[in-house]
């Protein structure tokens, strides 16, 4: 029996990919998996409320990163959803019996090993189940640097969390893992997709989505008052920085990918752009820092929101220029 190796990662979906593939003897770094899956994204959905604030996502729909990466490398990902909780457990047990570590999409709220501050009704967390001992499932949660375990009832609860993006017992695992191959084509394709996502001519997506949020920050204050504006801002920063996802964290990951890709393709320009991406990531973190100050102080003048708005506009401009250059660099 192959020993399962647990590796901590910055982002949960990357982590599930890296750990699942490693268990099959296929080694890939987190940044490479993230980049090949075109993991950077931005979408603003002001008409959908999450935890009483407008939805902002810094990542594609759950599962997309793995699916895209798999497709580009010629792998297959088997995915299953269930309406019957018993069947969901049977299918998982069957996999474990056959020594197939299995990825699950779960709700965070009922995960007992998460601190209170992280437990919200958010249904797109990924983890890997790699065994069952004395009726308890052995869990590799990619954001932790150790493994944990869950009882059958606990696992059922998180697999069948309800609400937006309800996972419905969603489980997945890779099949058809190819031998060593040339990644050049896959890398180019993945970068092109990221550029077209972030430069999409859609007002709520990519750099245009950022600009829309920037405009709305000022509106929140004018229309909804200080308390609500701060709540929305805090929500935005949580989506941006929590568990390595979103703003700065994703930019550093993508910079690491560009560095690896640049070395792989022997493309100097990608290395330069990687350094530029690190600088943009630093600006995202600065934005989060400023926002946390606004949130903390409470009594804020109109001006503070204008400053935040301007900062986000600047970020959108920088990123627009960046993705245009990246698109050119890849040809």
């Amino acid at each position: 029996m192959q020993v399962f190796e647990h590796k901590q990662t910055a982002h949960c979906e990357n982590g599930a990919i890296v750990n699942l593939l490693q268990s099959k003897g296929f080694t890939i770094s987190e940044p490479m998996a993230f980049g090949l899956g075109s993991g950077i994204f931005y979408v603003y959905l002001p008409f959908i409320k999450v935890n009483h604030a407008p939805a902002i996502s810094y990542r594609p729909m759950p599962g997309r990163i793995f699916n895209r990466m798999a497709k580009r490398l010629g792998m297959k990902v088997k995915r299953m959803k269930f309406s019957d909780t018993k069947k969901a457990q049977q299918a998982l047990d069957e996999n474990l019996k056959n020594n197939i570590p299995t990825g699950l999409v779960v709700g965070v709220y009922h995960l007992p090993y998460f601190p209170e501050e992280y437990r919200f009704h958010f249904n797109a967390h990924n983890l890997v189940v790699f065994g069952k001992e004395n009726g308890r499932y052995l869990i590799s949660d990619p954001v932790l640097d150790y493994t944990v375990s869950l009882s059958e009832a606990e696992l059922e609860k998180v697999r069948f969390a309800k609400g937006a993006l309800a996972p419905k017992g969603h489980m997945y695992y890779p099949t058809n893992i190819p031998e060593e191959q040339d990644w050049s084509h896959a890398i180019r394709k993945a970068i092109r997709k990221t550029c077209s996502d972030m430069l999409a001519p859609v007002p709520i997506v990519g750099v245009r989505g950022m600009r829309m949020v920037a405009k709305d920050i000022v509106k929140w204050h004018k229309k909804l008052g200080v308390a609500k504006a701060n709540y929305n801002l805090a929500h935005m920063i949580r989506m941006q920085e929590e568990i390595g996802t979103g703003g700065g964290g994703f930019r550093f990951l993508y910079a690491a990918f560009l560095q690896e890709a640049g070395e792989y393709l022997k493309n100097e320009e990608l290395l330069t752009l990687s350094a530029e991406m690190v600088a943009i990531g630093d600006l995202w973190r600065e934005f989060a820092l400023e926002a946390s100050r606004v949130v903390k102080k409470r009594s804020n003048t109109h001006n503070v929101y204008q400053v935040m708005s301007d900062k986000l506009m600047e970020l959108a401009d920088k990123e627009e220029a960046f993705y245009k250059k990246l698109k050119k660099a890849i040809g």
């Binding site: 910055a10 701060n230 949580r238």
Partner: protein, 133 residues
């Protein structure tokens, strides 16, 4: 961000004995994973968020105490839910569930519906029925 600039601030995760991974530049300009026990910026917004949610719970409690609302509202807020999430757990429609916050409608709910609420909130039917705030 350079490796030595990675924040190591006490945070909810460090109190939990955990840490998180992020990527930063090492001395040779290589971007490498680094563990961090937390960042004050994140902790600030997390605590602020919990505080506003807590305020919602207190407001709901007041509503129940004054007899303006049924315990459904209180337990929904206590479980960090909104109407959409609660309706999904109840397998019902939002407009239907929202009616149950009226004390008069709540009084008339049958045991099947009450036990589904109780299960969703992780309490007993008795606790739900007899909750007075």
């Amino acid at each position: 961000m350079k490796k030595n600039e990675v924040p190591q601030d006490e945070s909810p995760i460090s109190k939990h004995g955990s840490n998180e991974l992020l990527y930063a530049l090492d001395d040779d300009g290589k971007i490498k994973p680094v563990q961090s026990i937390g960042w004050e910026v994140k902790s600030v917004v997390q605590y602020q968020n919990l505080e506003s949610l807590n305020q919602r719970v207190l407001d709901a409690l007041q509503q129940v105490k004054e007899g303006k609302s049924s315990p459904i509202l209180y337990f929904m807020e206590l479980n960090k839910m909104d109407w959409n999430t609660l309706a999904a757990y109840m397998g019902s429609w939002v407009f239907w569930i929202k009616r149950h916050q009226k004390p008069k409608v709540f009084q008339k709910l049958n045991n099947k519906v009450l036990s589904k609420y109780a299960e969703t909130f992780g309490i007993t039917v008795e606790e739900l029925k007899n909750f007075k705030g």
